[in-house]
Symmetry: none
Subunit: 237 residues, 4 copies
DNA sequence: CATGAATGAGGGTTCATTCAT
DNA sequence: CATGAATGAACCCTCATTCAT
């Protein structure tokens, strides 16, 4: 029988914290394994090994592979959105907001190949309907259309074009090398597809991007740390 | 030692034909199953069931899942390319050629949801480097750039933008409904991303598309026939 | 993180014991099946059936057929060696030690035809380099040579001769009937090959052999019990 | 319907010859594959590939793996026996005959590692009852015993000792290196096990062995030629 | 007889999931 | 809640054998 909730008893709280930490650890390991093996692969054995948890414990946190993938996607999306929002929050101009946000998104993936790999592999499977691109972009796009920055007729397919172009960019960054200004070129192409002139598109992508920072205990930060640690370990051998 | 080749002996020929038919049958079944389960799934058991052959026979034709996927992709690419080429062969204007070719591609997928599903699922995994978009488009794009139709600076990322945009279109056509002029809108967006004006883009996508025909014994035709047959069968139950 | 190790918690211990029992059960079944089908045969399905476990469980203990064979061989070797050592431990004379040890070895196989079958089938494949004959005999042989019991020149091939002769003896005991004093005759031949006179050889093999006992829960004992049980069962039908 | 046998018609004869050649070719390939993969392995696919025959044709010559193994063993035994007989035919002394025959046997295996491998792998499985050692040795051994060369009491197990010792020698020659006089040492040990003195044993193994020749179209010769050809081919790469 | 595609049985292996401890 | 052994379904693949041509 569960103990009666006692407000002075700190056990429930620490238990909940432990649980949350474990969950984070599993998600972190899963991101790495999904990135390496593809989001369609069977990852549970590798994830539990990487997270150093027992098989049985895994099922106290996630019920299926799919569940895990969803959790990873949401966690990653939220963190990326937050990072981007930190940068674009003060930008008033809708065109510049859109351009900068996408550049940030590409930059985050470029900073961590594992993330690029994960997102490239995930493709349309995550964020199909409710995601960054489909939720946060439309308002800015409409505002930009009102200001004459974007062609109103372009908006009906705008998010699809952006989604697809970003996805290919993920793939390029995940495998093989890209030119230094590849992200800007891609963003300019997206802006042109929205009806913007090349000159304007170049202008909106000209400013240097601020450094994107993730909180120390964030998924992004931890994954990057682990991939660095792993590379160092591989060098030892 | 083998018997001397006898030109009157038709056995080798009929054997080769039989072999080719079996191969076609497996590829056809595989396209359907890949479309249903995704190109990353294990399809061999379902494919052999769909093709009504034994497991053992399968391995006389393909060694792995991957092998099979490659074969399906190539066969499908070739047929689609051929269909498109039949239409655009007589178009001299590079811009119109590009626009029409992409419209045809989208149309072929629209005509057969299984094809759309397969291509959406395949994503970047097939034809990553050597495919329609990376092989046949560049010459036309460059020619168009010389004529001033496209912005030369856009070409470096043009194929990526097209690839991604087409891929999202596949996804849309595979799942859910699309507007009647969705393909044209998408092509217009691609053309704009290449530096073309909205007005020109609309003009290049205005002509009605000729009916795309596939030979009766082609993969496209057979798959469509089978999916119709299957739907009818499902209606019976 | 795992719970702090609690010395009062007996769960780890019982778990380890259960695991060990399962392992023993599989090895025991494997010995029987290897003896019946030969050490080169595919035994996993039959072993899991004989041990009444699932296929999946098997792979929690052994990864391959070869793995299993190695485990069986080691277990059997260790037990036989232990049984023999119990008998010869107090024998000071090297010639008598060697003669008695080999007689014991042959006797153990004679006591259990399954063991003879297994060892005959295993032939050179197990213990090729590191086995009873190559590890424990040489010291005694050298000591015997120093005492003039064996011809020093014979030692270079002595272990090979013994290995081969014992192997054929295994085969004879595994299939068909042998004379009552066959083991002694074979040991005498081995001793002669080492340079000993027939009279001395007869003397060293004259003493009656003590009863060889194996612990109740040993592989040898259990296999014998099971083969008896199986024979009884077969008689019922 | 078969044509009536016409004594002037040479077709039956050439057909039989072709058949015999094909059979020889399969046996030759089988010897090689058995030597490489072990006599317990499934060899038919590799054998038909090596012999460049169709799968179906194989079954016109042999019905099972076991069949093939038996055929190879017999063919090889016959040829080896013939080679040895050519050498020992003129030796009157039974002890020298035995010693020389065994030395020849070992020498044949030493000349061709494939043969050693095959015989080592075959172990007791071929020639278990009716083979060289069990058929041709006993008369000589008994004659030697009558002349006082061998100890009559040793004869009951003599063939077993020889069989086993020769088998281990096969194994040693098949894998790893052996001393130059290893065969002679082994034969001396066998002779001692038969009751002969070391000095006599040395004398009987002292004479140089004549060159053992096999007819050009014999299995031994062809296998050796093929293994040389294969090594040369491997060197090319 | 030669051929080689078709077959199906059999063996090897992985993995998601459950459950007793 | 943590653990990790047990399970069985599913998949992968090879091979002996048959049979139409």
């Amino acid at each position: 029988m569960p103990a009666a909730p006692n407000p002075n008893d700190h056990r429930p709280r620490v238990a909940a914290e432990r649980r949350e930490r474990m969950r984070k650890r599993l998600i972190e390991s899963a991101l790495i394994v999904f990135a390496e093996k593809g989001v369609g692969a069977s990852v549970i054995p590798e994830v539990v090994a990487a997270a150093e948890v027992s098989q049985g414990s895994f099922y106290n946190y996630f019920r299926t592979n799919e569940d895990l993938l969803t959790a990873v996607s949401e966690e990653l999306s939220n963190e990326m959105l937050q990072s981007i929002e930190n940068v674009v929050a003060t930008i008033a101009d809708p065109g510049l907001r859109v351009a900068t946000a996408i550049r940030c998104y590409l930059q985050l993936a470029r900073n961590c190949r594992l993330v690029a790999r994960f997102l490239a592999s995930a493709g349309m499977r995550v964020g199909g309907e409710h995601s960054m691109v489909y939720d946060v972009l439309p308002p800015d796009l409409e505002e930009g259309a009102k200001l004459g920055q974007f062609d109103a007729a372009a908006l009906t397919v705008a998010v699809d074009v952006i989604k697809g172009t970003v996805l290919v960019a993920m793939y390029r960054m995940a495998h093989g090398r890209i030119a230094k200004d590849y992200p800007e070129q891609m963003v300019q192409a997206m802006l042109r597809s929205l009806g913007m002139s090349t000159a304007d598109a170049i202008e909106l992508t000209a400013a240097p991007l601020p450094r994107l920072t993730a909180p120390a205990e964030s998924l992004l930060a931890r994954v990057q740390a682990r991939s660095v640690a792993k590379a160092a370990k591989a060098d030892d051998n």
